[in-house]
Symmetry: C3
Subunit: 496 residues, 3 copies
């Protein structure tokens, strides 16, 4: 094994497919069915301003390393200081400013990503987007850097050009309830044909015990354009903001909680709780009750206005206080906890789970809930859909486990298709490609074991790659008709 | 992909086997070893009256759709109203009465079952039992309906004829403690050679906080033929009913709880609790303590009378209150919860877990307990056996996970073999066949990886398919000798 | 299937490798890369006195059956009394004394181990160490016994000769804080070249509510050579004992807890708690708080003295009281419980998790924590490494699940390599061989699916089999240079 000279970077055509020829043949056929379908991106964290401004991306380190916590947390876990990777500090600690040194440090440690989805996505980006043909390591760091930098300077690598090249059909951002949505408005005004829509995420104004709650509430009132003095005006403001989000194309809300606890308060209790919060007296226990109540309120509003409700449960944020204080949130230290859905969702599902106007998409970081709680719930309640494997589980093995543990009880038609959930715009095609390959491989395995036949598998592959996301998030447009001569659900557009 | 004309329905000979030729060859050989063994059905919900009366089955929808919550809950989850499927309402809401329309609606949505065990069982029934050779969908609904209806009208499709055709060796029903067992008595009196035995399930009289507890207790007293005025007469009645069940062939009891909590009360505490229940004052907490105590009492009686004790833990019943109120229990809305066995079973196992006269079979809906708690417990306590994957996990992937997670710690000989746990009589052969295929495939995988050899695998395959169920449930009869020239456990009859 | 004549015992060259030819070819190549690497044994329970005395082993039953709870617990679970296997009783109950009868009884039940790691290890020992070529069963019991007994009598089967034959590079024992380490001193004095090092395990003196705590504390004081009258002298004694352990080669400490709860007490609270313990008044709740505090104290000392800290969480000891009373601890009745790491470790990790001088190795019996909590934590905190699958999970399937659930989030470089954790000295090569095969197969699967290439896989295989254990436990010695022409981590010696 001679090392030290650069090795070729190869993306194998059959990557991520099972080595068994029967499975692989079926997986290939199914992947061919979906590889060129448009990308539906119903949940993610790309900044709309990126596409509104449509400026050239900066150099490689600032684009690919410094903002990507998937990447720098892994280096940090092996002892590489965040300062040395140029991660901006909140406290004025000086951090590395030389992008080439940052890139080199990353390249030296790129071996840490072997066998990880980040490694798979990154290789895909290097190869497919930037035309790199050598494996990234310390020796090749500079030449790869130069190649990426050169491409980024061309008009073909502007955000809107990439959006089109990526074949994105719709891209949802995630936005605070108080967000002005100026970038979304600017995009709409620009006349550009891309479809970029906001998502209503009001978490910050539900956290009544958080130190910044008053500031968040003020921002909401300002955006709303009216005072928030009690629960009733608070609910009114939320309702109005939802309307505003919808006016700019939103089809969904998003909610992040540690426990997916839902419980309705009496009107007087809810009112009293809100007053206590306004007085600055709300405790953590108060906040838990308030969040539980507001989730039910959000479901109620969704029944009215048709916004699909997303619930991401189970991440304990900012586990590492020193890192949070020095570098801020989202630095790779959000750690999952055990999560309970069956009892916690009882009230919300009993209130709205049977309502045909309502859709609730659940996301978990606790895989033990897939087969035990989530698939049985989704296999019963009409309103429920299971979101795709989230975050740490958005990976080859993670997606495979999800399909194996969910499908037998819920089928595929109670799942919500794929979403990339990324803030790394350039990684979007790699993420969808990996997902389509893994789903094709899952279905190919069923075909090879004669659980389903290839005809049915083709229909299922299209549903998983494209149609279920469109249906669940209510994105149906006439643009991409997939009618295959079979009847459709009126509400769905999912081929059978 | 041309659709709209009917496609052939095929049951592949190698279905559910791994696509790898070495695994498949071994799996085939092992399946050949077991495919024609008699069916032992130690736990299920078939109505004994069905076989006692031996009337012809009704038309297809009433037989296969309306009573099967595996089926209608999936359609419901995608928005098909239960009314439209003919599920009888409790509140007088009119429901669909036309069996053909029910059947058609089902056929239109049959695609939802792709990749599910229900789909696999149903295709097996269609093909093998009813001779259907086209895939079921909206277009073929009528012709398939007619074909099934025609067969159901023939004498060969009477329940007893099917029992014999299915090659059932013994079929256990599940019966309330107060059940008269008239159907069992009638079967015995009829002189028919089939072996149908009751199972003693006293849950209803242990739920002292339930609204219908007094009614259940009265029914027990009536069946017992004597008053129940205190704990002592309650225990006496139970003991006598167990004797009666045994007289009609019962070899087991069955108990369903949310938490498998066991704790012995002092005689005076138990007595006081029972009195409180008689006064109508029992709380949910009281009931939990009472159930915990009664499980230990049941174990004690099992030591005495030899009835095998089954414990099904972890289902939260009737999660969807609206459905429960309108349509009743068992409508697909029983949802699993996290379950703890190690601490909860401490008292019961310390009391009777070392007793060679006692057998306790555990069932879980929380797969995370397989490797963590259940296999270590069963790999230690002589009295313990692990029941097969239950309910949502009675599936290709579910059974595979079970074997992979249980075998290395507990071996196969601390598991209880298969049971079909079904109320759908016609699905029994399909369920056993799927189980035998999956176990053959599991063992074939071990053979192909040289973990075991094929000779040992053959012996293990027979144990899993037939002998372990007979041994665990104490069904040994001289009818089917499987002696293969090797010594046997005195108590077992499991070939080594 | 003709039985009753002895069947040949075969260890297939490709055992435990996937049957797919692409996976198997890659797995073989990777296994060849590691099969002859020295064995690093950083955690285990071999008695140092065994090697210090270097006496011949006793006959087969006393060596292989009577002391091995992996073996006798399985026979016990199927109704074989521990007395009949010669397990010594604490209460004077007579137990079987005839080693041949014990051996025969084991051989009769050896079929119970089919498909278990114990079976795989035992066959490996029989074949490779003792030259047995027939499958063990009732018929072959005597001839196998004789063959083993004959070998054990030869000089080549003395412990030190086996240590060398096994190619062990370093072997860590596990020792009480109060242990004199006489055997370690004797080994050092003997001039023998083997490297046997102690591990500091102070659990017994942290269990302040246990009946034997005072005795343990006295033993610690005696070993320390000074009185322990308060918390300060307690901490001083621990610090001095750690120094003593390090003087005899220790590189690590080990700690076993049910819950991995960590929380720092104020100095006055800690002091008061210790006084209460000295008065004999400590409760179970007190002990929990004390252990939580002492884990943080141990981390603090590790930062100072460089001892790697190991934490084994989640085993409920002595579940079966009757067995514990009659036969003592470690009889196969330690049963895992659900375990929580994210919240429990917050205080310890916030105190020392970012410190480059600190290494904490976590072990779990709750596999649901692999992907949910442990991999995310290890993929963030510099101090964390994940220990290999422990105990019930140290198996083909268990290791495979571990790699599948951990690698995508933490990579392989945040794992601690393999350890055999055994008291069965003769099983060490079998355990490392199985681990190397399973890891080679895991990596071979990634190669066959084109997730990584074979070059990278070779480097990873060496890391998993050898380098990561040396790096994590700070065993770097110049003896075995593995430099392959690539840069290394200064702190590590792990090839990239």
């Amino acid at each position: 094994m001679r090392r030290g000279t650069s090795q070729p970077l190869v993306l194998h055509d059959d990557r991520f497919f099972d080595a068994n020829p029967s499975v692989r043949t079926a997986a290939r056929a199914l992947y061919e069915e979906t590889r060129d379908l448009p990308l539906v991106c119903p949940h993610g964290h790309v900044d709309a301003a990126l596409l509104a401004a449509d400026d050239a991306f900066p150099e490689p380190a600032a684009l690919l390393i410094v903002p990507d916590h998937y990447i720098f947390r892994m280096l940090y876990s092996r002892g590489v200081p965040l300062e040395s990777l140029g991660v901006p500090s909140r406290d004025g600690t000086p951090v590395e400013q030389d992008p080439r040194r940052i890139w080199k440090r990353f390249a030296e440690h790129y071996y840490l990503f072997r066998g990880t989805p980040t490694g798979a996505w990154f290789d895909h980006e290097l190869y497919d987007l930037f035309g790199v043909r050598v494996k990234l390591d310390a020796d090749t760091a500079d030449v790869v850097y130069d190649q990426i930098a050169e491409r980024l300077a061309t008009p073909e690598f502007r955000p809107r050009a990439l959006y089109e090249r990526f074949n994105i059909e719709v891209l949802a951002t995630t936005d605070k309830a108080s967000d002005s949505l100026d970038a979304h408005q600017a995009l709409r005004d620009s006349g550009w044909s891309g479809r970029v829509v906001p998502t209503f995420r009001p978490d910050a104004v539900f956290r009544i015990a958080a130190p910044d709650w008053r500031a968040e509430l003020s921002a909401l009132a300002a955006a709303h354009g009216g005072p928030i003095t009690d629960l009733s005006s608070f609910l009114g403001a939320l309702q109005e903001r939802r309307r505003f989000f919808r006016s700019l194309g939103a089809t969904a809300t998003d909610h992040a909680v540690v426990e997916p606890y839902t419980a309705r308060l009496s009107p007087s209790d809810a009112d009293e709780l809100f007053r206590r919060a306004l007085r600055g007296d709300a405790t953590a226990a108060d906040q838990m009750r308030f969040e539980a109540h507001m989730l039910i309120e959000m479901a109620r509003m969704s029944v009215d206005d048709g916004l699909v409700m997303q619930l991401h449960a189970g991440a304990l944020r900012d586990h590492n206080r020193a890192v949070a204080e020095q570098f801020g949130a989202d630095k790779g230290a959000d750690i999952p906890v055990q999560t309970e859905f069956t009892r916690n969702l009882t009230e919300l599902l009993n209130a709205y789970g049977n309502d045909p106007r309502f859709t609730l998409v659940l996301f978990t970081l606790d895989e033990s809930t897939y087969a035990r709680e989530l698939a049985p719930l989704a296999g019963h309640y009409p309103a429920l859909r299971l979101g795709p494997p989230w975050w740490f589980h958005d990976s080859i093995e993670g997606m495979t486990r999800y399909r194996h543990q969910v499908t037998e009880t819920a089928g595929i038609y109670n799942t919500a298709g794929f979403n990339d959930d990324t803030r790394a715009f350039c990684s979007i095609p790699a993420r969808h490609d990996l997902s389509r390959r893994v789903d094709a491989n899952f279905l190919g395995g069923l075909v090879a074991r004669h659980v389903i036949d290839l005809d049915d598998a083709r229909v299922m592959a299209r549903a998983l790659a494209y149609e279920l996301a469109r249906e669940t998030y209510r994105f149906q447009t006439p643009a991409h008709s997939l009618d295959n001569g079979r009847p459709r659900l009126v509400s769905g557009g999912v081929s059978r």
